[in-house]
Amino acid sequence: MTDGAADPAAGRGATTAAPLLALEGVSKTYGTTRAASDVSLTIRAGEIIGLVGANGAGKSTLMRILAGVTRPDTGQMLIDGRPVDWDAFGPRAANAAGTRIAWQELSLCPNLSIAENFYIERPNAGRFRPGWTRPYRELAAEALGAIFPGTEIVPDTRAGALPISGRQMVEIARVLSDPGLRLAILDEPTSSLGAERSAQLRAHIRAIAGRGVAVVFISHKLAEVIDVADRVLVMRNGRITEDRPNRGLTVGHLVEMMGGLSAEAAAEAAEARPAAGAPVLTLDRATIAPGSNVDPELRRGEIVGFAGLEGSGQKAALRRLFTAPRGGPRLRFVSGDRPVEGNFPLWTVLENITVGRTARRPGWAATRPGPDRRAATEAARGLALDPARLDHGILDLSGGNQQKALMARAIVDDFDALLLDDPTRGVDIAAKREFYRLARELAGRGKLILWHSTEDGEFAECDRVLVFSHGRAVRQLERGAITDEALIAASFSGTAGTEILAPRGSGAGMRRLLTALPFLCLALIVAAMTWRNPMVASALGAQLLLGPAVPLVLVALGQMFAVGGSEIDLGIGPAAGLVNVVSATLLVATPWLGVGALLGILALYALMGLLIRARAIPSIVVTLGASFIWLGMGQTLQPRPGGSAPDWLAPVLLPSAFGIPAPVIVILLAGIAAAMINASPAGTVLRGFGASPLALERAGWSTIRYTVLRYLLVGGFASLAGLMLTAMSGASDINAGRALTLLSIAAVVIGGCRLLGGVIAPWGVVAGAVTLSLIGAFLATLGVSTDYNAAVQGALLIAILALQSLSFGGGRHA
């Protein structure tokens, strides 16, 4: 392993053939930020390139361009010496050319199994036949075993059940196991891996480079870059500022090339400050690892860093501190995740700052525009943010200035402690300096500053740094001892190279209960009804009781496919009602016109899906509007209930010759169809879109095509339900389907589907739907008025949703 690193280029050699890939003069601008500026780069087969640079230096943009996810404004790319046509170059084309990326923000679908995640990334072997996932299960197991020997990841595990290190290994294995791989781009591949796994990965990278695969290794762990790379690229402010062979380079060199900020900042930070004062906050016991040297008291005048590998608990600890009780210290929080938890995008800079004052007033208090503006202006001045920009929209500002506005919001009135969560993410160097200066000034005025950062260099600003590992603070480094090496060593100190790869245990029992719940409910209600009246269990009883359940089962399965996309169809009941009307009128009188009308309804469904996707409008309002359209159409076709079933449709639900009640057969067939669709390759992709549309798009799947497919499925099942309404009643009524909407949602929820996140269960939905349709009959046997039907169904829905949210924890806005 070490002989390769000693003179890596010699073994594989830089060949003289056309480079695998070349970029020439590529630029990309987002708003006012130049993410890539005149970038030129050649990558040869078998090369290992280390790419380093501060956050926001443009590494991610460069990688997205290579992967066909982002189209540059100017410049060209050559693959094997042939120029690429940007119009035709998307994620699929990049994959076909052999380029693959392991994304830092992991692109696995948490609701799919590991084998299914391998399929999403590489669909070429996917044929719809029973057992189609087997090759992917084998592939996943082989790939993981080859790169990370000794892992025990089961390919049937849901990706979301793995800890972050496991997900990272799957993500990497998925990319590196591709037989067509020519260029692998690994974005922070070891951010969550222990030392042993990281070494295994680097060994594997050297092995595949020996077979001619080029690898781009992006990492903040500079020692690893120096260990593995043949050549090192340094990016700063969207440019490649250094491109040199990895000979005699040290971590110090790299730090210097990346900006040399830490040394300079440390010198400035060394200015004398008064000693720390009284405690403001105290870390609780659970946050500190037993036996560590961490001082739990956080005092006035201190700048305390929260460090560790990503996801080691430092962020969570910071957030726990922010939920202090009322009347405690006055806390202010600034996050660097501006789009998600910083900006109010519709407001001006001024409004974004003054909300910091308004938020702390009681609700009935009036705003005070004059004093608020004066305070905001003063806060902006203190941050070197031009007060003339206060009346601009917040999004018109550069990232750095947006962040200054957020900082101004925090300090716009007096406070005790300022909590910073990676506040300099994607911020230019001048704004960073401003923050460091401000932090020192505030600490000098006796404020407590807590600073979580993903850039280790920033901890040079701190008086002490708490290093987190596995959810707890394991080490405290004092000023003078805060170095990159010490931070990394401390970050791994708690891990000892062992990962826990078993699915997370919390709530597993509750989850199993929820999966079994629909079947339990069904068994209970059938048992109770049979006990009251043994006829229920007979073929005739089943025939009579299950007939009304058929339309509901079908509508519920349709709703399930909508819910699988994290959407909802409020018009599904009326749509079934419309099909009921069409099939009992047009389809009888003029069959061709009837068939045309039914196809038209499906086409409208597809159109609705397109509209929802293309205009990014909530499905709930569109389908609510559509429900009126379905009702109106039905009413126009047939103002009063009536009509008759077509001859071929009428006998479908009548008692059959085989002694098995026809409704049972139809329900089972519907369940089998839905389960097969859901387990098919297309169904897998649909589920993937429900959880992580971005990941699917990056893998080259067409959002439009699958949205249309999803809505066709929803409309198709709704149509079948309408036909069954006709078969059951032998007539039609546009209002027959109305009640089905709520019931379908209730059945989907009882069936164990999640309303967000693409987790669906066809057989659970079937059981849930049958249970719900039996409730009326059940209440009747108990002597309860059917008036209570709706209330019981609504209450059941709420109870089960409450149970779900209690067992799964958060996720309303997941």
Partner: protein, 311 residues
């Protein structure tokens, strides 16, 4: 100019009302304010729950209140029942406002504490309320309305129906609340970004909860007025207000994604929507076609507004 329309989105429904009114006047050759006044009475009933719906939608996170029809029907029955018992109008008003507050609080608990998506929680609570109305229906011996509700619902001040005046006053108050009261600013902040609002120190839960409570109270009040106007309560009386309350909010220029609201726009949106419905009735369109057109209009407006959602 663009800045002006961007900050005063009520301009669009106002323009729509003007055009439709002129078109109607030309068609029927009767240019009168009286025709507007009839529409305004009905629009007032719609505007009240629509203003509530606006607050809920503005709280963001896909929040919407689908229990409005249930609240309207239940409060209508409640008002009739209290009046039937011989208690005065004041008692009836208190009863329906209290019932509205309770329903809103329950909705808020379902959405915030149990984290059930608002559309499902309110859909389910709406069904339970409908059952409540059904049960009250059986206890009514004689449809008695009258008193305060009838007066409020049918009186006119200088030719303007009092229901519209009430809605206009409510819109003015809410407009002021959104612009100048801390709660209004907190609601707009929460609607734009719940995460950012929480970190900025906004008590997000309490802020959203009040939106649900106000929505149910406004709907309950509307239910009492409608019962006073119609001279009684009936089971399906709330049904039209489900789509129309959302429609008035969308037509009025409130963002469906939350975080930006126009109370004046919602009032005018309600007026425009009722004008459209009335026009269709005058034109003699069958009920079915009216439903289709309402659905199409709302989807159309939404898809036109969709791209303006986030600048």
């Amino acid at each position: 100019m663009r800045d002006f329309t961007a900050h005063n989105r009520w301009i669009w429904p106002a323009l729509g009302i003007l055009l439709l009114w002129l078109a109607l006047a030309l068609l029927t050759e009767r240019l009168s304010l009286a025709s507007l006044s009839g529409v305004a009475a009905t629009a007032g009933f719609l505007a009240l729950p629509a203003l509530g719906q606006m607050l809920v939608i503005t709280s963001g996170g896909g929040n919407i209140d689908l229990s409005i029809p249930g609240v309207i029907a239940l409060s209508a029955y409640l008002s009739v029942l209290v009046l039937q018992s011989g208690a005065g109008s004041g008692a009836a008003l208190l009863a329906i406002l209290a019932a509205g507050a309770v329903v809103g609080a329950v909705n808020a608990v379902l959405v915030l504490s149990l984290r059930i998506p608002a559309m499902i929680a309110t859909l389910a609570s709406g069904y339970i309320l409908a059952t409540g109305a059904l049960l009250l229906n059986g206890r009514i011996t004689a449809m008695r309305t009258g008193g305060l509700f009838q007066m409020l619902a049918t009186a006119r001040v200088f030719g303007v129906p009092s229901s519209f005046l009430i809605a206009a006053i409510a819109a003015a108050i809410l407009g002021l609340v959104l612009a100048r009261l801390a709660w209004g600013r907190k609601l707009l902040a929460t609607g734009q970004s719940e995460g950012a609002a929480r970190l900025a120190g906004v008590p997000v839960g309490a802020t959203i909860a009040l939106a649900f409570v106000l929505c149910s109270m406004l709907s309950a009040f509307a239910g009492g007025l409608i019962a006073g106007y119609a001279g009684g309560a009936f089971l399906e009386m709330g049904t039209p207000y489900l789509l129309q309350s959302v429609g008035a909010v969308v037509l009025g220029g409130t963002l469906i994604a939350g975080g930006s609201a126009s109370a004046a726009g919602t009032l005018l949106g309600a007026l425009l929507l009722i004008m459209i419905v009335t026009t269709m009735q005058i034109a003699g369109l069958p009920k079915g076609v009216q439903d289709i057109l309402q659905g199409v209009i709302i989807i159309l407006i939404l898809s036109l507004a969709g791209s303006r959602a986030r600048a």
